[in-house]
């Protein structure tokens, strides 16, 4: 069960509002309350896993980026608010925020 309001609600109501960032818990808040956390699609090798070439696996995770010109899934921390890390899908060409999602949840309109 989900005790909180759905993140989808935030995603829709703020479609246009770009850097009015929709915290999945607190709702839309001013950009200055947040801290950017970078590309959320980067996959850090799991701690226990020992890939064939751990160094290059970590080099990819730590240094290499898709850096897309368009929708970008990224981490944000509501640092001056509820201190939740969450994911935002933002268009890097326009700064338009397309959706936000809690950890472990899919973006609005996407299957889990």
């Amino acid at each position: 069960m989900n005790l909180f309001s759905s993140p989808a609600a935030h995603a829709n109501e703020d479609r246009r509002l770009m850097l009015l960032i929709p915290c999945p818990y607190c709702g839309p808040r001013n950009q200055i309350e947040f801290t950017y956390g970078g590309d959320a699609t980067v996959r850090r090798p799991a701690m226990k896993e020992c890939p064939a070439d751990p160094v290059s696996a970590w080099v990819d995770a730590v240094y290499v980026r898709d850096n897309p010109c368009g929708p970008h899934d990224e981490w944000w921390l509501h640092g001056a608010g509820c201190r939740s890390w969450f994911m935002v899908r933002r268009d890097t060409r326009t700064h338009e925020i397309l959706a936000s999602a809690r950890i472990g949840e899919a973006f609005a309109g996407e299957p889990r």
Binding site: M1, L3, F4, A80, C82, R83
Partner: protein, 209 residues
């Protein structure tokens, strides 16, 4: 480790002294509010055991709706985050000896939660009066419109460059602004500067309970 209910001065300086400041007449009242006990409860609301333990300990159901508060006979709970609340002694006469804290902490740890003592971490200011919302809106990006910031709501945001936890205890135009202790002077300065054009009165510390 709250051992006493005495006022925790944030470091008095001139404009904190009771009196009238800015243009007359005063449309805003500022005061420090003593915090006697402020504990940070953390835990996963998806775990009934934790919620139950918290309820048993503090006599209230932790508010699960973001940015809302709940009151019990002795305690008030402010929502801080999806797994975090600030419990404040709504009544200054509550004396909790150190041992008391450890016992509460152990009990909550046992229930899969956590309890941290933050009683001395924040300094609270009251901003009261018809211009209270305007004063806060000068340096805080939140919407203080009565339809947007309801009585019984709380929110964390920024006051200028510093973090602030803001609560609206009731329907009157009154807000409680809590800032980190080491930033208290800057927080107070901002409130005074923002109030000056309306005129403001500083009164001796008052209790919000």
């Amino acid at each position: 480790m709250s051992d006493d209910g005495t006022l925790r001065p944030f470091g008095a300086f001139d404009s904190a002294a009771p009196g009238h400041y800015g243009v007359s007449p005063g449309a805003v009242t500022l005061a420090e509010i003593p915090i006697s006990v402020a504990w940070n409860v953390q835990g996963d609301p998806l775990h009934p055991a934790f919620l139950a333990e918290a309820k048993r300990r503090f006599g209230l159901a932790l508010p699960l709706v973001p940015n809302t508060t709940a009151r019990g006979p002795a305690w008030k709970a402010l929502w801080l985050g999806p797994k975090s609340w600030l419990l404040m002694a709504g009544d200054e006469t509550v004396i909790v000896p150190p041992a008391g804290f450890d016992a509460q902490r152990d009990a909550l740890n046992a229930a899969g939660g956590a309890l941290f003592d933050l009683s001395a971490s924040r300094v609270a200011f009251m901003v009261k009066g018809l211009r209270a919302a305007a004063v806060l809106a000068k340096n805080c990006p939140l919407d203080f419109h009565p339809r947007a910031f309801l009585a019984g709501n709380c929110a964390q945001s920024l006051l200028g460059h510093i973090n602030a936890l803001i609560e609206r205890p009731d329907a009157t135009p009154t807000f409680v602004v809590m800032v980190p202790r080491s930033f208290a002077q800057d927080g107070w300065r901002q409130l005074c500067r923002s109030s000056a054009q309306y005129g403001y009165d500083v009164v001796v510390p008052v209790s919000m309970s």
